[in-house]
C-alpha cells in the first residue's frame, strides 16, 4: 500500500516524542499493526531503513507486534480470533452477524530513547 508514507509518519511522530522527552537518540520503536490494516510489514521495515539515515533514528530498530483479526459473534456470542485478514463468517459457528473489533490497528506503542 503506502508503506513509505507510513514510515515517514512513524519517523516524524517518534522524533517529536523523543525530543519532547528531552532525549537525542531513538534506539527502538514498537508498532502495533493489525493484519487487516493493509500494511505489508516487510515493505514498511524496508522503507524505514531507507529514510532513517542521518536522523535521530539512524540506529533505531523497528519492532512490530502483529495484531490478528478478531471480533465477537452476535449469533453464538463467542469472541474469536482468526489468522485471516478478512472475516466472512464467525469461525466458531459460521454465523454472519459478527462485529470485527481488532485487526485494523496502526499505531506507535512505545520506544526506547537515550
Amino acid at each position: 500500500m503506502h508503506e513509505a508514507s507510513i514510515a515517514q509518519s512513524v519517523l516524524d511522530i517518534a522524533g517529536e516524542n523523543c525530543k519532547k522527552a528531552g532525549y537525542s537518540r531513538i534506539d527502538s520503536i514498537r508498532l502495533r499493526i493489525g493484519r487487516a490494516s493493509g500494511v505489508m510489514t516487510e515493505a514498511l521495515l524496508f522503507a524505514f531503513d531507507a529514510i532513517k539515515i542521518d536522523t535521530i533514528a539512524a540506529g533505531a530498530t523497528v519492532i512490530i507486534d502483529e495484531i490478528p483479526v478478531g471480533g465477537i459473534c452476535g449469533n453464538c456470542g463467542k469472541d474469536f480470533i482468526t489468522k485471516e485478514a478478512y472475516v466472512l463468517c464467525c469461525p466458531e459457528c459460521g454465523g454472519l452477524s459478527f462485529k470485527v473489533n481488532a485487526g485494523r490497528e496502526l499505531e506507535i506503542l512505545d520506544m526506547e530513547v537515550s
Partner: protein, 214 residues
C-alpha cells in the same frame, strides 16, 4: 529509557483527507467516492443519476482517469460543474489530487459531489479522499466471484450498485451469491440492482440517495 507514545499513525494521505473533509463539511457538501472496475458503467450511472435527480439536488462531479477527457465531456453536457483529473498513470485518486482541484468547484452552491475514481478494483479502496461515503459499482457481467476476490473494496463500501442486470439472462451469474458475499464483508451494505441502459432500478437508488444527502 522507555517512552510511551500510543499514537495512531496517520500517513500523509489521511491528513490531507481530513483537511478535505473539513472543507466539504464547512460548505455542506455530501461527498461520494465512486469506485468500480473499468467499464462497469460509472459515468453512465452518473449520467442517469444526474438526470433522475433533476434539480432535487445540486450535483457536481470530479472525474478521475489515467488519461483523456471523455468522461468530463459527457458529464459537462448535462450542465453540472465537472472537473477532470488525469492521474497520468496513477491507478487511483488520492487526497492531495482532490485537494488541488477543490478551489475550482463552487462548493457553496453544491449539495452532492461525486468523485468518480479511476477504474480499478484494488487501489482506490486504500486511499481516503475525504468522502462521506465510499460506494461501489459492479456490473454483473464481471462475475459473482468478485466480492471474495477483491474483499477490501466491498468491505469499505456502504453501498453497492449492481449494473447491467438487463444482461443477467445471458450469463450464469448468481445475484444472490454476490449479495451474500458482499453482505458478509460489509454487513450494513445497501445493495441496488439497476440497468443504466434500460433505466430499471434507477429511481430506487436516487430516492435512497436523496434521503441520505438531505
Amino acid at each position: 529509557m522507555k517512552v510511551k507514545v500510543v499514537t495512531r499513525i496517520l500517513e500523509a494521505n489521511e491528513r490531507i483527507a481530513a483537511d478535505n473533509r473539513r472543507i466539504f463539511d464547512d460548505s455542506g457538501v455530501y461527498v461520494i467516492n465512486l469506485m468500480s472496475a473499468p467499464g462497469a458503467g460509472k459515468t453512465s450511472l452518473l449520467e442517469r443519476t444526474i438526470k433522475e435527480l433533476n434539480k432535487k439536488l445540486k450535483v457536481a462531479v470530479i472525474e478521475g482517469d489515467i488519461a483523456g477527457t471523455q468522461d468530463a465531456e459527457r458529464i459537462g453536457n448535462l450542465g453540472v460543474p465537472v472537473i477532470q483529473i488525469n492521474t497520468g498513470g496513477a491507478c487511483h485518486l488520492d487526497a492531495n489530487m482532490i485537494n488541488e482541484v477543490l478551489g475550482e468547484l463552487p462548493l457553496k452552491e453544491i449539495e452532492l459531489l461525486f468523485i468518480e475514481n479511476v477504474g480499478n478494483l484494488v487501489c482506490p479502496a486504500e486511499f481516503n479522499v475525504g468522502e462521506d461515503m465510499k460506494m461501489m459499482l459492479l456490473s454483473i457481467t464481471e462475475g459473482d466471484d468478485k466480492p471474495l476476490k477483491y474483499p477490501l473494496m466491498f468491505q469499505e463500501s456502504s453501498a453497492l450498485i449492481l449494473n447491467k442486470i438487463d444482461l443477467l439472462q445471458y450469463t450464469n451469474v448468481s445475484i444472490d451469491k454476490i449479495k451474500k458475499d458482499a453482505m458478509s464483508l460489509s454487513p450494513s451494505i445497501k445493495i441496488f440492482e439497476i440497468s443504466c441502459k434500460t433505466g430499471e432500478g434507477i429511481s430506487e437508488w436516487t430516492d435512497w440517495l436523496v434521503k441520505k444527502v438531505k
